[in-house]
């Protein structure tokens, strides 16, 4: 490596380090410091409060149960779709990731309309069997786990499918040839090889459930979880207690991280060579019919929430009371949206904030990933931790940290006043996007042979030329995928929005919430439909961009 290169990486490293420490690490320090502002007083209050203890244990139970439920749906689905061929397979594959495209608040509302005590499915079953009362109630812990499983199995499905794609089925056949039973093959061949995919997706589900806010917010009813308890404490004027709760939530997340990482390390096998998967065609007539029926039901269940939101967006507000389906329909909800300029503002806000945050993510995370993967320098481990940190910290905690840090101008403590301005939300989106974008770019860069970069430099290419012609093209798939993920998350973001929005940056999710407050379910659903379309449009744009470049 040339002398100049070392200096240049240092030159790149220092600002990125400073920025990450300031926006990622520092707010957490501020929260922890805030929890001790009263000595141990707030901690004692936390420990003494049965409500908080309940919130902590419920949070953890829900998160673990969500992991189990997501595995139960995601793993069989991934196996079914990558190992077997049956009628309906292609449609099922196409809609299998659909739940992930449902923004958090929208998904919860759709579930309420469908499976709530007076929802369409519930009422239909009640009518069908002439029951005096609704067959179930969508409240409490089971309801939250149900919603989590529906939206989060996608992570498991995606990770495991990817793992199976790379999986060499000849290994399985070899084991079979050696006389291993189906169970033995699963236990000793398939599962060990899938461990990284399983651990990774379990971690993601655990983290997302722990920080999940909208499901407990809407279905919580009587129960408490830490994410909602934080907001409730803050509203009740006990900011110190909110800081303690935030710290505890973050600590639980870190414990989860350690647990799943340990699981992942315990078993590490790699299969050499490229995966060659063969799909078994289901031949028996009876099995074919069963598979087709099952696939149809699954597709319907997966698509229903989207259909429900679309349906309600055409319903006349206030008309739908005890009927199974909304009785009257109109185009007014959309007409209002397109005729009142004020109603367009949230859409423009969300879009521009997502673009700003994602652009910043792409630049900063590209530099960070470049330093982590291709440069060997002493701060590498620290940089890796900094970049992964927002992943381990639930969104409520991130938002509270930002609110505690950027609330005044104070040069000495490096605080800038952003609370109450437009910029606080793009900053929150930026922080939440860091791990997503970095991981994606790192993945792409790891496939680049470091020798290539050295070779380019050795052949006399300038640093900048090498960057442009070698490193950037290698990073491109990661930049596109990570950027898309970050932008999609930002557009539908709800949790940080609740804590940090102002009039100037009012995002779509807050507008949906405001419309719900005003009982305008139709308008809220119309917004949700636009949000889903927006996500779809972004995905298609990214995909076509990627195809054009490839």
């Amino acid at each position: 490596m040339k002398q100049g290169d070392t200096r240049r990486s240092l030159l790149l490293a220092i600002p990125v380090f400073a920025l990450l420490v300031w926006t990622v690490a520092y707010p957490n320090v501020a929260v922890i410091a805030g929890s001790f502002e009263n000595g141990l007083g707030h901690w004692r209050e936390f420990i003494a409060s049965p409500a908080d203890r309940e919130a902590l244990s419920t949070s953890i139970i829900i998160s673990l149960a969500s992991v189990v439920a997501s595995l139960a749906i995601g793993v069989p689905l991934a196996f079914l779709l990558s190992r077997f061929d049956f009628p309906g397979r292609r449609i099922l594959r196409a809609v299998a990731t659909l739940p992930a495209a449902l923004p958090p608040l929208v998904g919860v509302i759709a579930f309420l309309f469908l499976y709530g005590e007076s929802g369409v499915v519930t009422r239909a079953i009640q009518r069908l069997f002439n029951m005096p009362e609704a067959p179930w109630r969508l409240t409490g812990v089971p309801a939250i786990i149900f919603v989590h499983a529906y939206t989060m199995y996608v992570y498991v499905y995606l990770f495991v499918s990817a793992g199976l794609e790379r999986f060499d089925t000849t290994l399985d056949e070899a084991a079979s040839g050696l006389g291993a039973s189906g169970w033995q093959r699963l236990r000793y061949v398939t599962l060990p090889l899938l461990t990284p995919a399983l651990a990774g997706s379990m971690l993601l589900v655990f983290m997302t459930s722990l920080g999940s806010f909208s499901a407990p917010y809407v279905f919580g009813g009587g129960i408490r979880v830490l994410a909602t308890q934080i907001v409730s404490s803050k509203l009740n004027g006990s900011l110190g207690l909110a800081y303690v709760e935030t710290t505890v939530l973050a600590l639980s997340a870190v414990a989860g991280l350690a647990l799943f990482r340990w699981l992942e390390r315990k078993r590490k096998y790699t299969s050499s060579g490229k995966g060659s998967a063969t799909r078994r065609v289901i031949r028996s007539r009876r099995a074919q019919i069963a598979a087709a029926v099952l696939a149809t039901i699954t597709v319907i269940v997966l698509v229903l929430p989207h259909l429900m939101v679309i349906l309600v967006s055409f319903a006349v507000d206030g008309q739908w009371t005890t009927q199974v389906m909304p009785p009257a329909y109109t185009l007014d909800n959309y007409r209002r949206l397109f005729s009142e300029a004020e109603l367009w503002r949230p859409i423009m806000n969300s879009l521009s904030m997502a673009v700003i945050a994602t652009a910043a993510n792409l630049i900063v995370c590209f530099v960070a990933a470049y330093l982590i993967v291709l440069r060997k320098f002493s701060g590498r481990r620290t940089l890796e931790v900094l970049v992964a940190l927002p992943w381990a910290i639930p969104a409520t905690a991130i938002a509270l940290g930002l609110a505690a840090t950027f609330n005044r101008n104070d040069l000495l403590s490096a605080r800038v006043l952003l609370v109450g301005t437009f910029w606080i939300l793009p900053l929150a989106y930026f922080v939440r996007g860091i791990p997503l974008v970095s991981t994606a770019i790192e993945g792409s860069l790891r496939q680049l042979d470091p020798a290539l970069e050295d070779a380019a430099r050795g052949l006399g290419g300038s640093w900048w030329l090498t960057m442009r012609k070698v490193v950037l093209p290698a990073a491109r798939p990661g930049l596109v995928a990570g950027g898309l993920l970050a932008a999609v998350t930002a557009v539908g973001e709800f949790v940080a929005g609740v804590v940090l929005y102002t009039h100037a940056n009012r995002p779509i999710s807050m507008e949906i919430l405001a419309q719900l407050r005003a009982l305008a379910f139709g308008t809220a659903s119309a917004y949700s439909v636009l949000l889903i379309l927006l996500v779809l449009l972004m995905t298609l744009t990214a995909r076509s961009f990627e195809e054009r470049m490839a």
Partner: protein, 343 residues
């Protein structure tokens, strides 16, 4: 990277084209898009150089916001919250005193002694019921009747921690116990019995309205103007009963935020939304009960005149409330919530 820069520039462009030359007046308010939107239109028509921007959120959230933004106030006017929230904000030094031109037209209970806030609307708390399931003669006539075991599992309660309305009702019950017995224990026992009858603590008003309208529960405690709105505007089958022994009569107020950058415009808005005409319009079109006493009864809709004659305001010691409400609510949250519910 060039693309990213171009996109950023585009985003900034999008942002800047929305700004104009008018003075921006920011109003934090829980009054809802309908009332706020109509006031915005008429105010901007009268003052074309001012752009009113309202942020619609729960009253407890407004307090939290204004507290968080203390060092850099974003709001100019705080329009709407129970007096208790304003008292608390006054105590924390978040409000700017202002004496409106109509200060004499409000009862002493309807204003702050130091002029930090004045009452705009009155919000009586009521017992609401679903009219398709419960006949009027069977509905609870007074607070204590809601505790009757026949309502077990049929009462919906909005989660009281985040709700000014519910805090006022719970607070009044505990305060009544303190004045009568010297201790909050009887009040807590009352709330335990309510907990036993409660089907669910609903986390926001919208879902509460939906659930009561769709018969997931048949009784709730809520405020009169909102129930009247549900009944008259949204055709939801609910009605209310004014509790016979008396009810907390919340005063909903207005205040100027301390440190506002537009004090002149803030005062203009303050006055504009509280003229007799604005009050009448709010009463007729948005079902608000005016706090100003100088509005001729004949100008007001029948249901408000009825309410004036039937409501017996429950005497509430606001000082005691301001000093203890948080503590009572914390006790309720930690020890009473779910202690008997569903058991």
């Amino acid at each position: 990277m060039k693309r990213a820069l171009a996109l950023t520039a585009l985003a900034l462009g999008l942002l800047s084209c929305s700004s104009d030359k008018r003075t921006v007046l920011t109003v934090y308010s829980p009054h809802g898009p309908e009332l706020l939107g109509s006031l915005e239109k008429s105010f901007e028509k009268a003052h074309p150089d001012i752009d009113v921007q309202w942020v619609d959120m729960g009253s407890q959230e407004v307090l939290d916001r204004i507290r968080a933004e203390k060092d850099n106030p974003q709001a100019d006017v705080w329009f709407g919250a129970p007096a208790e929230a304003f008292d608390r904000a006054t105590k924390e030094g978040l409000l700017e005193p202002y004496i409106p031109t109509w200060s004499n037209a409000v009862a002493v209970e309807g204003r702050d002694a130091g002029d930090h806030w004045y009452g705009t609307y009155l919000t009586p708390e009521v017992i609401a019921y679903n009219t398709q399931v419960v006949r009027r003669e069977d509905a609870p006539k007074d607070w204590d009747e809601v505790l009757d075991p026949k309502w077990k599992g049929k009462v919906l309660i909005r989660d009281p921690i985040a709700s000014g309305t519910m805090r006022a009702i719970f607070g009044a019950i505990v305060a009544r116990s303190v004045t009568q017995t010297g201790s909050p224990e009887a009040g807590y026992e009352w709330l335990r019995k309510l907990d036993a009858n409660t089907r669910e603590y609903v986390l926001n008003p919208t879902i509460l309205y939906q659930k009561i309208g769709r018969q997931e529960g048949v009784i709730t405690l809520w405020d009169m103007p909102d129930i009247a709105t549900l009944k008259q505007r949204f055709n939801i089958s609910v009605d209310y009963i004014i509790p016979s022994s008396g009810t907390p009569l919340l005063v909903d107020g207005i205040a100027i935020v301390k440190g506002t950058k537009h004090p002149k415009e803030a005062k203009m808005y303050y006055e504009f939304v509280t003229t007799p005409e604005a009050m009448r319009d709010a009463a007729v079109n948005h079902l608000r009960i005016p706090a100003r006493t100088d509005i001729p009864q004949a100008d007001l809709p029948q249901w408000i005149r009825d309410a004036y004659s039937k409501i017996k305001p429950m005497p509430v010691d606001r000082k005691m409330m301001a000093g203890h409400l948080d503590e009572w609510m914390r006790y309720w949250d930690a020890n009473i919530r779910n202690s008997r519910r569903g058991k």
